[in-house]
Structures are given as C-alpha cells and as structure tokens.
Amino acid sequence: MSKGVAITGMGIISAIGNNVIENYTSLVSGQSGISKISHIDTIHADEIMVGEIKTSNTEFEQQLNLSENSFSRSPILGIIAAKEALAQANILDINDYKTGLISSTTVGGMDKSEQYFYEYFESKNHWQHINGLHAGDSTQKIADAIGLKESFVTTISTACSSAANAIMLGARMIKSGKLDRVIVGGTDALSKFTINGFKTLMILSDTYNTPFDDNRKGLNLGEAAAFLILESDAIIEKENREVLAYVKGYGNSNDAFHQTASSENGDGAVLAMEKALKIAGLKPEDIDYVNAHGTATPNNDLSEGRAMLRIFGEGKVPEFSSTKAYTGHTLAVAGGVEAIYAVLALQNNCIYPNLNFKTPMKEFDLQPQTAVKEKELKHVLSNSFGFGGNCSTLIISKEA
C-alpha cells in the first residue's frame, strides 16, 4: 500500500458559494445554485438552466485590483480559489519550497474570444484578450497572481476529467520527489461556446438536472474554480501543518469507445476505479461514499451506474450521490470541486444528498443518497469522466 499525499489547503468558488465555507453550508442545507443565466447574452437563455456564479467580473476586478476588462473570467475565478487555498494552508512565501502549479481548463479565455472574434479586426479596444484564448494563459495569470517564479507550471485539458487529472499528476510529482508542494485544480467559466456546443449534442436539460433519475433530461452547465494544496511529508513535519485529508488513490484510463459517449458498460470507468483502489491499497468495501460524476445525461449515469455495480457488486454499492444538481457540470473543474467536497465530507462525516432524485432508473437497482446523512467516513471515491474517453478516479482518505 502506498502512502497518501497530504492536502493542506483548499479554495473554491462555484454557483453555491464564493469560498469553501459557503459551499459546505449550501451542500448540507440542500441549497442548489442552478438558475437562469444572467451574465451571458444567449438566445437559449429561456431554455437552459446553469450553475452560474452571480458575482460579476466588474465586482471581481475591484476585489482583485485588476483594471477593467483585462482578464477573461476563467483566470479571475482561478485566482480567487488559488488564493483561498494558499491562505488556508497558511503559505506566506510561495517560493520557499519547490512548488508547482497544475491547473486545468477547457474553455480558457473563450468567453472573451467569442465576444470580440470579429471586432479584433476593426478596433484595438480589446486586443488584450487575443492571447488570452489559449488554455495556458489562465494558468500563467494565476501563477503571476500568487507570485510563483521559476517553477513547474502546466495546464491539463482532458475535457470533464481535467482537474481530477491535475490532482493526480500533482500527487504523483510529490511522491516522486519532483516537487515539495503543488497547487492543483482548475478553472472554467461559462461561455456561449460550451452552451452551444452541449446544445448541439442535445444533452442540456431545460430544467434542474436530476442525476441518476430515470427521467433525467441532461446536464446543466456550471462555472467554477477549485484548487487544493498538496505538500510533501517533509513540509508537513517541518512546518507542523494541519493535514485536511490525503490523496490516497488515483486512476486514469481511456474508454477507447467513442469520442464523446461512454461505453454502455463503463469499461473505462471500471478500469479507472480499479487502478485507484489498487494504488490506495484498498478493497471496494473500504469505500464509504462515492461522489459520482453523475452529470444527469442519459448516457453518463447509465454507464457510471453499471461501472459502480461492476466494482462494488450487486447490492453492495456504498452510499453515493452526484453534486451536479448543486453546481451544474463545471467541466474541467468538476473533479476539483468534487475533491474538495470529498475532503469536506471526510472532515464532517457527512454525505450530501443527490438533489432532485425521484424515480429509480429502470436498468438497475441503484438509488442515490437523497438526504444529508451523518456517517463515519474514512475513504471517499470521486469519479470524473470526459470527452475523448477520459476516465479518472480519485480516492480521498482521512488517514495517510
């Protein structure tokens, strides 16, 4: 059994709160963040619901002392979450240990690019956003904002499993001694690009998303940023750090089935969960709670449900829920948001309800947890799956 990697700080901003405490309060009080869209002007506004962060860019710019319209929304959200994580870990000098930053995003600066796509050639008013499109730009802005220099800084984009993979890479780099400390997570803002993209795939629900429900109609897109601080045992000891939880297991595999759909029996998901259990040195029955990917699309929930049945066995699936009904599907960040929710679950011995669930699916006998439940938790398993067949699983544990 390999030792887990310590988590010493967390920061998050999502539709259910601008920091960790607000997010937790919403989770345990069943407060969903799904609403009509207000910040993006789209013709689909009346037919979709989203997990939108209500604070405007202008308000964030004032909070961060940024000049008006200098950054797209993804780096802004990312800076807020990364700073909260560093503050919680009580890190005053980011460069005092060999520190890395591994972020993730799917849209990068698309919210601005789609706004000024043609305008760039008519006026120079918004040229500051031209180089902000590429995915790495948001990460570089976060690195600058936290003062990280001469360091390993990279960005992962594996669609909806991105942040889970950032956490996985960070844990592996700490274990291999490549880094002493690493900030891992991701940031994704809502954009017309993703709204219309998912619309063409016909997997957007016109109402509140209902994970694992037989009548589920699809997902609600969301926006969020989430970062965790991982630190080596040497730092924990030397700095006498409080450890929040441990990244105990991780697994990544590819479904190799279809560019956007998951295989019917969840082959990739099964492989990812198996690998994560193996790395953690745990058996399926050691898992106390599964925070499912549960996007509420017909395809995902069926495939993931079957995969859970294959891993845990008929009648032996532990309590599980999807928190997508709270936050919407935050794309690249989903795995980061849910890793933080897993840590909070462990800290509070609390399982969150899967909101909006009414009717069990016909295909199998699986019912998510529908009310807040107190339970002694030791190991939480969190799934994230994405386009391109990407399947990732993390296991977050109370003990190393």
Partner: protein, 355 residues
C-alpha cells in the same frame, strides 16, 4: 533504483519533409513568408479518404507521426498516451465560434464542437489503437510537449509503464494567425527563412507540425537516445538563465563542458532572441550550437522538432550543416541539451544522451 528512459521510435510531420524516417533533412524547403504550412505526407496511406476529409489537420498529422513512431518501435499498442498541444484542434474551435456568431446561435452541428476539445488527438489515437491506458493532454503553451515528457519520464522511471506514446502537435489556422499578427506575435513582413536570425524584426514566423515518440524503459535495436532529464520553468529572468542552466546540469551530474551540442530555440524575434544570444556568446560560447526554427517555424510544440532533431543527431552521429549556428564541430556527439522559451516565458531544458 529508477529506470532509464529511452527514445525507441520517432515520427515527424512538419513544414520540412520529415515524415520519412529513412531520411534526415536531405531536402530543405525554404520559405519567404510570415507563416509556413506543413508538408503533407500521403495521408491516404494512413487514413481512409472519407474519414480524412472530416478530420482536423492536427489529427491527420498526428495519425501519421504516431503510427510512424509506433512502427519504428515495433509496437502495436502502448501503456499510455500523452499529448502536448498549445491550442488543440483550434481550427474547429474557430469555425464553431464563427458559426455561433454568423448564425446567431442557430443551425449548429456538433462535429466542430466535438473536435474542438483539446484532448481530441489523444482520444483519437487511443480509439485508433484501442488503448485503454493512461491518457493525458497538456495544454500549456510552449511547455505543452515538455510537460508530456515530464509525465512520461516519471512513469517510466517508476516502472508504472513500459512504453508510452508521447507527442506534441499544433495546427495553424487563419483567425489565430491574423489576430496574433495584430498584436505583433507574428511577423508583419515576410522573412527569408535562410536569413531568419538576421531580420531583426518583432514577432515570429508561425508554423505547425506533429511529433510523436515512443519512450520506453527498455533499450532496443531501434533506440535513438536516452532521455536524461527534462525541466520546465514558468519564468526565468535573462540575468538568472545561465545560473539556472548550470544548476540543472549539476543536478544531473553533468557540466557545461560535457555538453557536446546545444539546440537553441531562436525564432528571429528581436525582442526575445536575447535569451539565446546570451547563451551563445556566454556559457556555451565554446560549445557547438544548432538552431531549428528556420526549418520548423514557431508554434507551441515546435520544441517537438528540436527533440526529433537531437534524437536523429545522436542516432546518426551527424549534424546537418543547415542547422549549425556556429563554426564549432562535434564529431561524436554524446550529450545534447535543448533550451527553448517563447516570448520570455515557459522555458524548458531537455538533456539527451547517446546510448
């Protein structure tokens, strides 16, 4: 004891004729332009034409370069696929954005959106060879490819994988070129590629390409070189660069004197080539020097071309005249260091050794 990492197969599709592994820069194409497009291999030999028509250029190039690398390494499948790409299939992203605006968010089809995902190339390769293993995509500008190398090297050293397909790919498309020309990232005046470093204008000549490699922790007949070390740095000041490189070499138990050849990423941008010039006339002034961006042009994963070049030099033990930056000769190159950065950010150091 950690394992050694070897390059056992290479594949390149670039703005030079590099797709044939039996050649090594035998024919050079020079450009007088601000952009350079890839020299297409015979895609039909790799992809059914009906499929190829719908495919993004990045996927097509990568199908050829990844298959070339796998074939040379004698493999049908691998334990992991790791791809670096600064912009992903940016052509599909641009078209989808254009369609959204032109049609006021109506009458859209999913194909472009699906292909626009940054991990499309890694996903398509996995689908093509039915690889259910680890699948990652790094999208961090000029260190996208080096991030992939870092990840692969860690897995092979720890014996978490035996064979990994690692690559870097970027395609060049219109809106990106035109918009980046506005802000001076791409040159406004055409440059003769044979005189790239003499132009002294701002911006670079934009190109495209796809480079894939099979990295393994076992040496074999087809082995090109050993990958000794790779490091990425988000920033380095010019003042600190020599010190940083010296300590990188020390950490890897080598020295400036032991470097037989340095590969530098000069791209003819008067504002940023100073980083390289400081090294050429400073700590590496007695070291044979080569450059490559007059052949590859500039893009986020152009350093894949440098990695390919260094691997070929070590395997063939010959340095093509066309890449030489100074007069110093190396007859038996053993250690090659690659240094690259883009616009003063995202620096990388890669150390390769002859086996």
């Amino acid at each position: 004891m950690s394992k050694f990492v070897y390059i056992n197969g290479v594949g390149s599709v670039s703005v030079q004729k590099t797709f044939d592994n039996s050649e090594f820069l035998n024919e050079i194409t020079s450009y007088t332009d601000t952009v350079a497009s890839v020299i297409n291999p015979d895609y039909k030999a790799y992809i059914p034409p009906a499929q190829a028509r719908r495919m993004a250029k990045g996927i097509k190039m990568s199908t050829v370069s990844s298959q070339t690398a796998l074939q040379e390494a004698g493999l049908k499948n691998v334990d992991a696929i790791i791809v670096g790409t600064g912009l992903g299939c940016i052509g599909d992203s641009e078209k989808f954005v254009g369609d959204i605006i032109d049609n006021n968010e109506q009458f859209l089809t999913p194909t472009r959106f699906i292909q626009s995902s940054h991990n499309t190339v890694a996903g398509q390769i996995a689908l093509g060879i039915a690889c259910k293993g680890y699948n990652f995509t790094y999208v961090h500008a000029a260190v996208s490819f080096e991030s992939s190398l870092t990840d692969a090297k860690m897995q092979l050293e720890n014996d978490e994988a035996k064979h990994i397909l690692v690559g870097g790919v970027d395609e060049m498309v219109k809106h990106h070129v035109n918009s980046h020309r506005l802000i001076g990232h791409i040159k406004n005046e055409p440059v003769d590629s044979t005189k790239l470093l003499e132009c002294k204008t701002e911006g670079s000549v934009m190109g495209e390409g796809s480079h894939f490699f099979v990295l393994s922790n076992q040496k074999q007949e087809s082995t090109y070189a050993e990958l000794v070390a790779v490091e990425c740095y988000n920033t380095i000041t010019k003042e600190n660069l020599s010190k940083k490189i010296t300590s990188f070499l020390n950490e890897n138990h080598t020295s400036i004197e032991a470097i037989d050849l340095i590969v530098l990423g000069n791209n003819g941008d008067v504002n940023y080539d100073g980083y390289y010039e400081d090294l050429s006339s400073g700590i590496f002034k007695n070291t044979p020097q080569v450059y490559f961006k007059h052949l590859s042009a500039e893009y986020d994963t152009a350093s894949g071309f440098a990695f390919w070049l260094a691997a070929k030099i070590l395997k063939t033990q010959s340095v093509p005249n066309v890449v030489k930056l100074n007069q110093l000769e190396t007859l038996n190159p053993k250690n090659i260091l690659i240094y690259n950065q883009y616009r003063g950010e995202n620096h990388s150091l890669v150390l390769l050794r002859k086996c």
